[in-house]
């Protein structure tokens, strides 16, 4: 479904991504783990079209989308839950969800999906008229996920959804990611919480300072000496 080929991304003179390749197949949960500054967010932004690569390709169902404007990528079926959630703080929960469905025209479908999002996150339903900026961190994460679901994506990108959440909430978020995947959405998950991410991933890649240094199934990487030392605390 999604294939990244020999991607290079620069910020001015700094080369943040140095020729990475990976793929996400239909129905999979694929995770990209790596330390601070490894280039995870840069990769996610490039896939969504917020950044243009210096070279390389991002193929969505075989079409190169590196020259497609970001707003069209969403209607091609790719949505992203950005790092630090970035909900629209001055709009209500419901307005945020409406914005998630911005590219869609099917009013009935949107209504149905909103009910589904509220079913998945009952707390959002209780707070539907509340400004998103007044939600707790966990609720904002749920809203950011619900908002991405409203685009009815075939593939969903999540950038560190567990950041700053309590262990209990982290479990809840990962359970929901699995649930979203089981309902038919392909998932690309970026995480520093390698343990949880590897536990739900079909396949995983390790990103280190702009290069992919290791890949395998979630289980394989969880057992690998290198990963255990660097990311799982021994």
């Amino acid at each position: 479904m999604l294939k990244v080929e020999n991607l290079y991304v620069r910020y001015g003179m700094i080369e943040a991504i140095k020729g990475i390749s990976f793929e996400v197949n239909d129905g999979e949960i694929v995770t990209l783990i790596g330390a601070n500054g490894a280039g995870k967010t840069t990769t996610m932004h490039t896939i969504s079209g917020l950044l243009k690569p210096a070279s390389g390709a991002v193929l969505l169902d075989g079409t190169d989308i590196t020259k497609v404007p970001s707003h069209k990528i969403v209607s091609m079926g790719l949505a992203q839950v950005p790092e630090r959630r970035r909900v629209f703080a001055e709009q209500t929960v419901e307005e945020n969800l409406d914005l998630g469905a911005f590219t869609r025209k099917d009013k009935d479908g949107i209504k149905k999906d909103m009910e589904e999002v509220y079913e998945l996150f009952p707390r959002l339903k209780e707070r539907r008229t509340q400004l998103a900026g007044t939600l707790s961190g966990g609720e904002q994460q749920m809203l950011a996920m619900g908002r991405a679901l409203m685009a009815k994506p075939r593939i969903m990108l999540l950038d560190e959804p567990s950041m700053g959440l309590s262990p209990l909430l982290v479990n809840e978020i990962f359970r929901i990611i699995k649930d979203i995947n089981q309902r038919g959405t392909t998932v690309l998950l970026v995480e520093q919480n390698a343990k949880m991410a590897l536990a739900i991933a079909s396949r995983a890649y390790v990103l280190e300072t702009g290069k992919i240094t290791l890949e395998g199934t979630g289980e394989e990487l969880a057992r690998s000496e290198q990963v255990r030392k660097a990311y799982l605390g021994g």
Binding site: H45, S48, G49, L50, P69, S70, H71, K72, I73, V74, S75, A79, Q80, P82, R86, V87, F88, A89, E90, Q91, E95, D98, L99, G100, F102, T103, R147, A151
Partner: protein
């Protein structure tokens, strides 16, 4: 005239000039909210609107068609201005944007001076209705038409921004452009729309202003433009209700100063208010204290 009636007249004056400032201030504040840019050429759109409507009136078209065509022409001008002058500079420093804006302002003023000369041209008060008589005071239609039209437009604009998908998209872009892109919002379209709406409102302000204060000249837009900018800053630049509030406060202060303090020092008093405001409450009355985005 009794002291009370005189006060009432000043109140009406204040509302009138306040509603003109509000129409202009909305353009400043919306463009700033979305493009983070002070469009100093915005005031000149008022002048462009005044001249276009004057020329169209000369052709004998019905008044409503004159208004409509003027509004469309100014909206197009606003969009073209953004595409040609500002869009290529979107990643440039604020100072280059500011210089560009001042440049466009001079360009427009000089262009119209070239076409119409610097001599003031009389503007026919073409929108008139019977005056309203309230006891011993008479309100000419210029005053209440301006007020009613402005307030109606502000209500429509508010509904648009609050309720429609495009309005939500505009607010989203103004809050976090990157996140808005991730929603599938076309930021370029949103910016164009903002310039179009702002310029359309300025065109209407130009017509209403000229309708009240004939004659017109090529630099007529700069002072009301600056005053409206002050109103927008006073209310909190980026905030729509703030711009309206700031404009009415400024209109009132102006009317009262003129009547009771001094018409000579009017503008110095207005600028003093701006400076005091910037010192005491830099974000404006209804402005949010946003940290600069990184």
């Amino acid at each position: 005239m009794s002291a009370f009636n005189q006060f009432l007249m000043q109140l009406i004056n204040g509302l009138n000039i306040g509603s003109i400032y509000a129409l202009i201030a909305l353009g400043y504040t919306m463009v700033y909210g979305i493009a983070k840019l002070i469009n100093f050429a915005h005031g000149d759109i008022i002048m462009v609107g005044a001249y276009i409507s004057l020329v169209l009136l000369g052709t004998g078209l019905p008044w409503w068609l004159v208004c409509l065509l003027t509004i469309i022409a100014c909206a197009v001008l606003g969009v073209v201005m953004e595409k040609v002058a500002y869009k290529p500079l979107r990643k440039a420093s604020r100072i280059s944007l500011l210089i560009t804006a001042i440049g466009i302002s001079y360009l427009l003023e000089n262009l119209f001076q070239l076409i119409f000369t610097a001599n003031p041209k009389p503007y026919p008060g073409f929108i008139t209705l019977p005056p309203i008589v309230l006891g011993s005071i008479t309100i000419s239609s210029n005053y209440y038409i301006t007020f009613i039209v402005s307030v109606t437009l502000m209500i429509i604009l508010n509904l648009f921004v609050q309720k429609t998908n495009m309005g939500k998209a505009m607010r989203a872009v103004s809050e976090d452009e990157g996140a808005a892109r991730l929603m599938g919002i076309n930021v370029d379209t949103t910016i164009s729309l903002t310039f179009a709406i702002g310029s359309a409102l300025a065109a209407i302000a130009g017509i209403l202003y000229s309708n009240c204060y004939s004659p017109i000249n090529p630099t007529m837009g700069s002072l009301p433009g600056i005053k409206a900018f002050i109103a927008a800053v006073l209310g909190g630049i980026g905030s729509i209700p703030g711009a309206v509030l700031g404009a009415f406060i400024l209109g009132m202060v102006e009317a009262m100063t003129k009547a009771y303090i001094s018409s000579q020092f009017l503008d110095s008093i207005v600028f003093t208010i701006l400076i005091l405001m910037l010192i005491l409450k830099p974000a404006g009355i209804l402005g949010r204290n946003v940290k600069e985005k990184v």
